[in-house]
Every structure is written in structure tokens, then in C-alpha cells.
């Protein structure tokens, strides 16, 4: 408190901070980026370890024998799927009943706000089939879920086959202390959403589904399985869920531990693990892995069918079988044994997975970066608050004319109204747009969004004709800086990656903007640093990371489809990225745009 109460030292500190403001900001920004890049460097990361005692010490012997039979079931499933031309509900019910499960079905239907062109669906109708294996050893208060999506075409038949094979095998074991629910969901996430909402008696997205006839206890953990070939070379673990939520790290540890034990090659983000961290290529490999995770998390969409479980406080992950031209071919029996082992360990859980980390990034499956290590990278970027302090000092020195409240309030209100328009108009006016322009509904939505966004740029010039004063823009900038800091801080807490990526472009824009700059050049820079452009770079960068670079033309189309997917994710599953950008980030950026054109 001495520092805060002694006026001389305060004055010295403040004058130091205001004098060195610009260099401090630049240095901190650089340091923030450098810190973030350093996260992928192996000596700076922690090794993963199993924190949960219940899963750590017990040895499990896996004996699942029936891989071939499971594949045969998968082929049968595929044949029936072809015959019915969708989910073979009757066959599934019968097969599950034969295996001694309590079987139930759930019908659901959902009309999308506009057609999904990636998956070619608009009016979705489907059925989920699930069978419950009742726990013989304990009261049925807890449950585990194993799910496999029923996808059109030739995909995922092996996953359903293996699921049924495991169900048959699990049925004959006596050690289950938790109900195990085997779920085959149609229309991937939409079906999953219907099932989860039915299971938990909630309805957050206005979907139609029939109530569930049978349920188990509270679900402790879930795995979603995706297998499309009889043999696989490696298994890929997908963790990123809705709104960038991640399951407890112990689930990843469990997967990793069993892959090690059984000798299956395992990957994360499709990237193998490497041991040469001290070489340049090894480092860039782990940077790539980390960046892929950051990009996926920032997108806020579920990257597998497990993604919606996380919303209900259920730890879940998707396991994908990869078949590429490598050695180490593994058959279905091995994967079955791996899953058996994982479920037996999950069966031992005494309480929900909570011991390990929830906030982490993974540069490889064996290493992770916890919140304590990555948050400083964000905090260093957020040093723009210093700018606010500087402005405060400038404003606080008494001057003859004090700015009216109105001069700040008008831009604030107008930019938020623009944000509201960006949020509501695209879906509201799609019919009208389709009538008047030669575009499809999806295109109409995306193009309206882009149009509103661009129109917003023209608005703020006219908001302060008579009120603009020197003091006025400083107050506005102070408000906007604080707003940005709070906004990014909250975003980074919920979804670090999104917060970080937004900060990366918005912070420089916020820091440099004043009305006294050359207008054209700085307007160009502001547009380049705006949220929409950030998304554009992210699309290209993501393709680059996936080693599938695209031309500008394709990239643009991809960009449009990413926007439509983002809007759909919001309306279908309740992803928060679109409203966050439209209602808060974009208006905040408009405030800075406003300052640039202050008269």
C-alpha cells in the first residue's frame, strides 16, 4: 500500500509508465507471442501422468477375442443400412436384444434454420437406438456411454460392428459396476443432441424428440468411436468439444496409457509423436500440433460426436481409427481390447474425473501445457490496459471543456445496434434475399452477414457530427480499451484459444488507433486487423497446418462455408462463437473504427 498512498512514488511510477507506454506495449506484445511459441518447446511442457488413483494403480487384463465376428456384424449392418437406405432400426434393435441389452429407440426431427450445404441436409428426421447393459455389481446410479454414429455411405460400419461385438462380450462379464449404454446415433451431432437432451430432460435448442423410455444412472464418461476400415494403422484422439471445452486430461492419459500398453500407434490432431524435440523439425512438428489444437478449440465447434457430452459435465472423447499406408497394421481385436481396458478402468471410478487438468493444450499426446503456463501469453498481450492508464492520466488533468456523456454513448449504442443487426438479419431475411437475388438460402445467409458487416463500417462516421472533441475520443478510447480487455479476458477464460487469436489481431488495432493518423493507410490496417479478416487468415492458416494448402479461390469458398457452419453451430448446438463475435467483438472493433474517423 505504500506505493499506492505515497503521492511522490505514485507520481514517479505513473510518469514512468506513461513515458514508456509504447515500448512497454510493443515489448509485451512480442513477449506474448514469443511465450506462446515457446509453449510447444518440450522442456517447457509437462509430461502427462495419471492423476486419478482409481484408474492409475489397478491392473486390467484385456481379453476381448471377437474382433473378426465384430467385423462380420459390421458388414451385416452395412448391408441392412444399404437395404433400408438409412438407419436399420429394426435390425439394430433385434441385434442388441439378442445380445442381452435393454433396447430403446428415440425419434427426433429438426428443421435447420437454413440448409447445411456441407452435409446436404435441411429437414432432418432420424432415430437413435441405444441398449443399456445393466450393472450387475452395483446400484445403477452411474453409467458409461459408448457411441458410434451411423453415417450414410460406407463409413463407420466397422465402428457399429465393434460396438455390438463389445456389447456382447461385456454382457458376459460380471465386474461392471456402472451401466454401460451402447448408443448408435443417426445424423451425427443432431442425433447426439436429441439423445442427450432427452436423457437430461432439457431442451435448449427447440428440437423435437420423443422422450427416452429407459435410462441408466448419471453418465460419468463417454467415448465415441469412428472406424471405417477393417485394419487400422493408428488411433487418433479428438478432444475439442463445443465452445472449446475439453474433457479432463485423465481421459487422454487413459487413452495414451492403453495405446502404450497394447502397442497401438496413437496420434493427436493426426500428428505422430516425435522424440527429436531438440531439432528444428521436431520443434516445428510440435508447434504444428499445438496450433492445430488451438485453431480447433478456437472454432468453438464440436470436432467429434463426443463434443456435446461436455456440456452436461460428462468427460468424453472421440477415438478415430486411421488407415494409412504404414506398417503396424492392427486388427479389430486389438482395438476391442483397448476399449475393453479403457472401460474397465473407467468402471473403477469412484467419483467423476476431476483430479487432472481441464484447461490444457497438447503439443503431443505425452506432453501438455497447463493453464498456468499458457495464460501469461495472453496476459502479456492484454497489457493494453497500460494505454488506458495513459489516457486516464491525460483525461484526468483538468481541461476547460469536459466531453458530454452523449459523445461516448452514441457510438456505443450505434455499434451495438449494428452488432444486433449482424446477429439477427442473416437468418431473418434469407427468404427475402432468395426471392430477390439468384442465390441459395445458405449463400443468402452468409452474404447478408458479410453485407451487414461491411455496411457497419460506413455507419459510425456519421454518429458524432457536432460533438467530437479532443477529449471526446480519448474518453471513447478509454471505454473501448477497457471493454476490449474485459471482453478478451472473459473469452480467454472460457475458450483460451479464441481469446488469444482475437487478442492477437485486436490488440494492435486497439493500441495504435487515434484520429490523428493518415486516414487511408490506417483504415486499411484496421480492416486487416478486423475480426472477419482474422477468420479469413485462420481458414488459410488451418489449411496450411493440415498440410492441405488451398488456392485463394478455394480458400474464399471455404471461408464462406465456415461462416455458414459457424451460424449453424450456434442455432443447432448453441455454440457461442457467432453471437460473441456479432454482439460483442464486432461492436468493440467498431468503436476503434469510430475513433479513427473522429472529427
Amino acid at each position: 500500500m505504500g506505493l499506492l498512498s505515497d503521492p511522490n512514488r505514485r507520481r514517479a511510477l505513473i510518469s514512468l509508465l506513461t513515458r514508456l507506454n509504447a515500448p512497454i506495449c510493443v515489448v509485451c506484445y512480442m513477449a506474448g507471442v514469443a511465450w506462446f511459441m515457446g509453449l510447444a518447446f518440450e522442456p517447457f511442457t509437462l509430461r502427462t501422468y495419471m492423476s486419478e488413483n482409481a484408474m492409475g494403480s489397478t491392473m486390467v487384463e484385456e481379453r476381448f477375442p471377437a474382433g473378426e465376428r465384430a467385423l462380420a456384424t459390421g458388414r451385416e449392418f452395412s448391408a441392412h443400412k444399404k437395404k433400408v437406405g438409412g438407419m436399420p432400426v429394426d435390425w439394430l434393435v433385434k441385434t442388441m436384444q439378442d445380445r442381452g441389452l435393454e433396447v430403446f429407440t428415440q425419434r427426433f426431427s429438426r428443421t435447420l434454420p437454413f440448409p447445411d450445404e456441407n452435409k446436404e441436409r435441411y429437414m432432418v428426421k432420424g432415430t437413435n437406438v441405444y441398449g443399456i447393459l445393466r450393472a450387475p455389481r452395483a446400484p445403477r446410479t452411474e453409467a458409461l456411454v459408448l457411441s458410434a454414429p451411423c453415417t450414410p455411405g460406407d463409413h463407420n460400419n466397422q465402428a457399429v460392428g465393434l460396438l455390438l461385438g463389445l456389447a456382447q462380450y461385456f454382457r458376459n462379464q460380471i465386474y461392471w459396476a456402472k451401466d454401460i449404454i451402447f448408443l448408435v446415433n443417426e445424423h451425427d451431432l443432431i442425433g447426439m443432441q436429441a439423445w442427450l437432451e432427452g436423457y437430461h430432460h432439457t431442451n435448449t435448442t427447440g428440437m423435437n424428440w420423443s422422450p427416452l423410455q429407459g435410462r441408466g444412472g448419471s453418465i460419468q464418461a463417454a467415448l465415441s468411436l469412428e472406424l471405417s476400415s477393417d485394419v487400422i494403422t493408428s488411433l487418433d484422439l479428438v478432444l475439442e468439444g463445443l465452445n472449446g471445452q475439453l474433457p479432463n486430461l485423465d481421459l487422454a492419459n487413459l487413452f495414451y496409457a492403453f495405446c502404450q500398453k497394447i502397442g497401438v500407434v496413437c496420434t493427436i490432431q493426426g500428428k505422430l509423436q516425435r522424440n527429436d524435440w531438440d531439432s528444428v523439425s521436431g520443434y516445428s512438428h510440435s508447434v504444428q500440433t499445438l496450433m492445430l489444437m488451438v485453431m480447433k478449440q478456437a472454432s468453438g465447434r464440436p470436432w467429434g460426436d463426443h463434443g456435446l457430452f461436455l456440456r452436461y459435465h460428462i468427460e468424453a472423447a472421440t477415438i478415430k481409427g486411421i488407415n494409412s499406408f504404414r506398417q503396424f497394421k492392427r486388427d479389430a481385436t486389438t482395438i476391442g481390447r483397448l476399449l475393453e481396458g479403457m472401460y474397465r478402468k473407467l468402471n473403477n471410478l469412484l467419483e467423476r474425473l476431476h483430479q487432472s487438468y481441464f484447461f490444457y493444450l497438447m503439443p503431443s499426446l505425452s506432453h501438455f501445457v497447463s493453464i498456468g503456463y499458457y495464460m501469461p501469453a495472453f496476459c502479456l498481450l492484454a497489457v493494453i490496459l497500460l494505454q488506458a492508464l495513459d489516457l486516464w492520466v491525460q483525461i484526468a488533468t483538468p481541461q476547460e471543456s469536459s466531453p458530454g456523456v452523449l459523445s461516448v454513448l452514441t457510438p456505443l449504442v450505434i455499434s451495438h445496434l449494428t452488432g444486433v443487426a449482424l446477429y439477427t438479419l442473416p437468418t431473418r431475411f434469407q427468404e427475402m434475399a432468395v426471392e430477390h437475388f439468384p442465390v441459395s438460402e445458405t449463400e443468402a445467409v452468409v452474404l447478408t452477414a458479410i453485407a451487414v458487416y461491411t455496411a457497419g463500417l460506413a455507419l459510425p462516421h456519421n454518429t458524432h457530427r457536432c460533438l467530437g472533441t479532443e477529449q471526446g475520443w480519448k474518453v471513447l478510447k478509454l471505454v473501448a480499451l477497457l471493454y476490449l480487455a474485459v471482453l478478451l479476458g472473459c473469452t480467454a477464460l472460457i475458450n483460451f484459444s479464441l481469446g488469444y487469436i482475437l487478442a492477437l489481431t485486436l490488440v494492435p488495432a486497439a493500441a495504435f488507433v487515434t484520429p490523428n493518423l493518415p486516414k487511408v493507410l490506417s483504415a486499411f490496417i484496421m480492416v486487416i486487423l478486423s475480426p472477419a479478416c482474422t477468420l479469413l487468415y485462420s481458414v488459410f492458416f488451418f489449411q496450411e497446418l493440415q498440410e492441405a494448402p488451398v488456392s485463394f479461390q478455394d480458400g474464399w469458398l471455404l471461408y464462406l462455408s465456415v461462416i455458414s457452419q459457424g451460424i449453424l453451430d450456434h442455432f443447432l448446438y448453441g455454440s457461442l462463437v457467432y453471437p460473441l463475435i456479432a454482439l460483442l467483438v464486432y461492436p468493440c472493433w467498431l468503436l476503434f473504427w469510430n475513433i479513427l474517423f473522429w472529427k
Partner: protein, 420 residues
């Protein structure tokens, strides 16, 4: 004066009405920052239902409002929405008048305030109260905290108008609502004595006589209210359920106060001791503050309200809004404030982080109670800093009033004041 006030009223009512009708209202009514177990509207409705069924509303562990409130609402439950709106209207009108009267006693003509500024203070107070997001939230959540605030505002108003009887009655009502306003009797007494030119001197008979009068009126009306509640309900259940609930803090639902985490973590056999420590905290500051500020009872009242809203057992944002509404009254202190920027930033950031961390803790399950409590602590520290900053500024202004604004050292250079 009337026109801007009308505009303000219309604006604030519009905001509230819009929020009432929107889907946000339910969400807001669930927020732990906005409603406490004491002020939750859902619990009041539950209590009313129990009463209608002929069961004592205090028989469960749900209802903790005072009996008079329940009978008040008994008549108006069908029009609950409108009533709340009216209550809030009523409340800030009073608030406004209170502070209109409030600005005159602070005669500091020599230093800063011009009559023009004084003229706008009531409007600013009304604006600070009506447009404060905290008040809006607690109004939309139909928190009964608005009623408590109204009673306290009426008390302040009647005190400042110099009406001893009304002041005592409203003070007893406020005490009856939530015990803590008891500490406001010190500033009220000081103010009334100042107004009646009774010196604060323990040797004088007139001093003791006045205190006895006030105490008689206060205790008398308290007795009447409590008796009335007893006859309405026919049992003393409510004492345990309302005051026992406030003092012994059995409900540890997280809120923006300091109690819940501490008492959730504590071993049972220390509980009583720390309860006493925590509760004494609210009352204890009355003594030193009254001694230091005995010349300035209105400022003392502000400090007391702030202390109550920080240290009470179930604070909500509505309580904070009450003392924040006083801030325009002290606009002449602004040049002496030191940490106002820091404090404002912290308060704003904390208010934004409350729902975020709550989401992470309760819904996402990825954070835990420590995250939320850390923010609670920070929020309260910021409030305490704000308070002490105002206190410092007030004392410093007093100092300048007696020694001149620009201090010189003995050798003629400009001196600075250092607080040690």
C-alpha cells in the same frame, strides 16, 4: 429539474419493462449475485403459497422474509410485476428527495461546490441509482432487496428532513427487515443532534435526554412491528427463521459476500467463534467511524451503508447499488481520489467475471469454487479500496479546508501530504 427527471424515470422504467418481458428475466432471477436466499422472489412466492395453505411459511427452510413482507405481498401477488415496478419507482423518488435535502447541510461553499452543481446532484443521484446496472438487475430479478433499499432511503430522507419520529420508525422498519441497518442509528443521532444544536457531550443532560427520546421511539416502534408480526402469524417461528438465518449463516450458497466460502471450509467447532468475528465486523466500525466523523453524519451514513453491504452475510448487488447512488453527492471529493481508476476497473472486471466463472464452475465443471471466491475477494477488496479512498479524500479535503489548498513547506517549496 422536473423534465430531465421525468425522462430519466421513463427511460429506466422502459429498460426494466423490456427486460421483464425478455427471456433474460428468468436467467437474471437465478443469478446468485442478484438474489440471496433472503431476497429471492421465488422463495417469497413459495412462502405465500404455504401461507395460503394454512401452513406456517417458516416451517421449511425456504422462506426467510419477515412476516410483514409476506402479508404485504399477500395482497399484491397477482400484480407482482407491476408492484415491483411501482416499488422501484417509489423507492428512487424517495432516494432523490433524500439526496435533494442531503446536499444542503454539506456547506462547503468556500472550496468547490457551486450552487449550480448542487442543483443537479439529486438528478445525478437518481440517475446513478436508476440506471445502475446493479439496480436494474435486482429489479428485474424481483429481488426484495429493492424494498429494503426503499425503507433505508425513506429513513435517510426523514432523518435529513429532521423528522425524529419518522426517522426512528423507518430505522426500526429497516432493522426489522435485516438487522444490520441498526448501525445507522449512530449517524442519524449525530445528524439530528447537529440539527437541533445539541452538543455531542457526554456530560450534558440534553444529550442523554435526546438519545433516550430517540431510543424510546425506535424501540417502541420496533416492539410494535414485532408484536404485529407475532399476531399476524401467531407464532415466534419467524425470529429464528429470519434473524437466526441472518446471524448464523446456515445457507452457504455462493454469493458476492465473504461468508460462504469461509464457512464452507471451516471445521465445525470453530464456527461459532468465526461467526462472532465476522458479524462483529459489521457493527464494530461504527464506533471509530462515528468518533472520527461526528461532524459529518451524512458522510458517516455513506460509510456505514458501504460497510454493511460489504460485510453483511447475504449481500447482493442491490445493496451495493444503494451506496453507489451516494457517489454523486461527493463529487467535490473527486479531485482528491487516488485509486478511482484502478478501483473502477477492478469492479467492472469482477462484475463481468462473476457469471463467467460461475459458468465454468457450475456448468462446464472445469473451474472450481476457488476461482469464483477469488473474484468475490477481489470484488470486495475493490469495494473496500473505494470506501477508504473516499474516506481519505474526505479527510484530506477537511485538512485543506482548515490549512488552505496549496500547502507550503517552511522553506517555501510546495509540500505534499503523505499518509503513513
Amino acid at each position: 429539474m422536473a423534465a430531465p427527471l421525468t425522462v430519466l424515470l421513463i427511460l429506466s422504467v422502459t429498460i426494466r419493462a423490456a427486460l421483464y418481458r425478455s427471456s433474460l428475466a428468468d436467467f437474471i432471477a437465478e443469478r446468485v449475485e442478484v438474489v440471496s436466499p433472503l431476497t429471492d422472489w421465488k422463495r417469497v412466492v413459495e412462502g405465500l403459497a404455504l401461507l395460503d395453505l394454512g401452513v406456517s411459511p417458516y416451517s421449511g427452510d425456504v422462506f426467510h422474509e419477515t412476516p410483514l413482507i409476506i402479508y404485504l405481498f399477500h395482497f399484491v401477488v397477482d400484480y407482482a410485476e407491476m408492484t415491483f415496478m411501482l416499488l422501484v419507482l417509489f423507492q428512487f423518488r424517495k432516494q432523490k428527495f433524500a439526496l435533494e435535502a442531503d446536499c444542503y447541510p454539506l456547506d462547503c461553499l468556500e472550496l468547490i461546490r457551486s450552487p449550480k452543481e448542487m442543483y443537479y446532484i439529486p438528478l445525478k443521484v437518481a440517475m446513478f441509482y436508476l440506471l445502475n446496472p446493479f439496480t436494474i438487475l435486482s429489479c428485474v430479478a424481483k429481488s426484495t432487496c429493492g424494498l429494503n433499499n426503499a425503507v433505508i432511503a425513506l429513513f435517510i430522507l426523514s432523518t435529513i428532513k429532521g423528522n425524529v419520529l419518522l426517522s426512528a420508525i423507518f430505522l426500526s422498519l429497516a432493522t426489522y427487515q435485516s438487522i444490520y441497518p441498526l448501525t445507522l442509528c449512530a449517524p442519524a443521532l449525530l445528524y439530528l443532534m447537529q440539527r437541533k444544536y445539541i452538543p455531542v457531550n457526554f456530560q450534558r443532560v440534553s444529550f442523554w435526554w435526546f438519545i433516550a427520546q430517540y431510543a424510546f421511539m425506535y424501540l417502541g416502534s420496533l416492539f410494535v412491528i414485532i408484536g404485529l408480526s407475532f399476531f399476524l402469524l401467531g407464532s415466534w417461528d419467524y425470529l429464528q427463521s429470519v434473524y437466526g438465518f441472518i446471524l448464523s449463516v446456515p445457507d452457504l450458497t455462493p454469493n458476492i459476500g465473504l461468508f460462504w466460502y469461509f464457512f464452507a471450509e471451516m471445521f465445525e467447532h470453530f464456527r461459532l467463534f468465526f461467526l462472532c468475528v465476522f458479524q462483529i465486523n459489521v457493527f464494530f466500525y461504527t464506533i471509530p467511524l462515528s468518533i472520527k466523523l461526528k461532524e459529518h453524519p451524512v458522510f458517516l451514513m455513506f460509510m456505514q451503508l458501504a460497510v454493511i453491504s460489504i460485510f453483511k452475510s447475504y449481500p447482493t448487488v442491490g445493496d451495493i447499488a444503494l451506496y453507489l447512488a451516494f457517489i454523486p453527492v461527493w463529487s467535490h471529493l473527486h479531485r482528491f481520489l487516488r485509486n478511482i481508476f484502478l478501483v473502477t476497473c477492478v469492479l467492472v472486471v469482477c462484475s463481468a467475471l462473476f457469471p463467467v466463472l460461475w459458468h465454468l464452475w457450475i456448468y462446464a465443471g472445469s473451474a472450481n469454487s476457488n476461482f469464483y471466491y477469488a473474484i468475490t475477494l477481489l470484488f470486495n477488496v475493490a469495494q473496500i479500496l473505494l470506501m477508504s479512498d473516499y474516506f481519505y479524500a474526505f479527510l484530506r479535503r477537511e485538512h485543506h479546508l482548515s490549512y488552505g489548498l496549496y500547502l507550503k513547506k517552511i522553506n517555501g517549496s510546495e509540500a505534499t501530504l503523505v499518509l503513513k
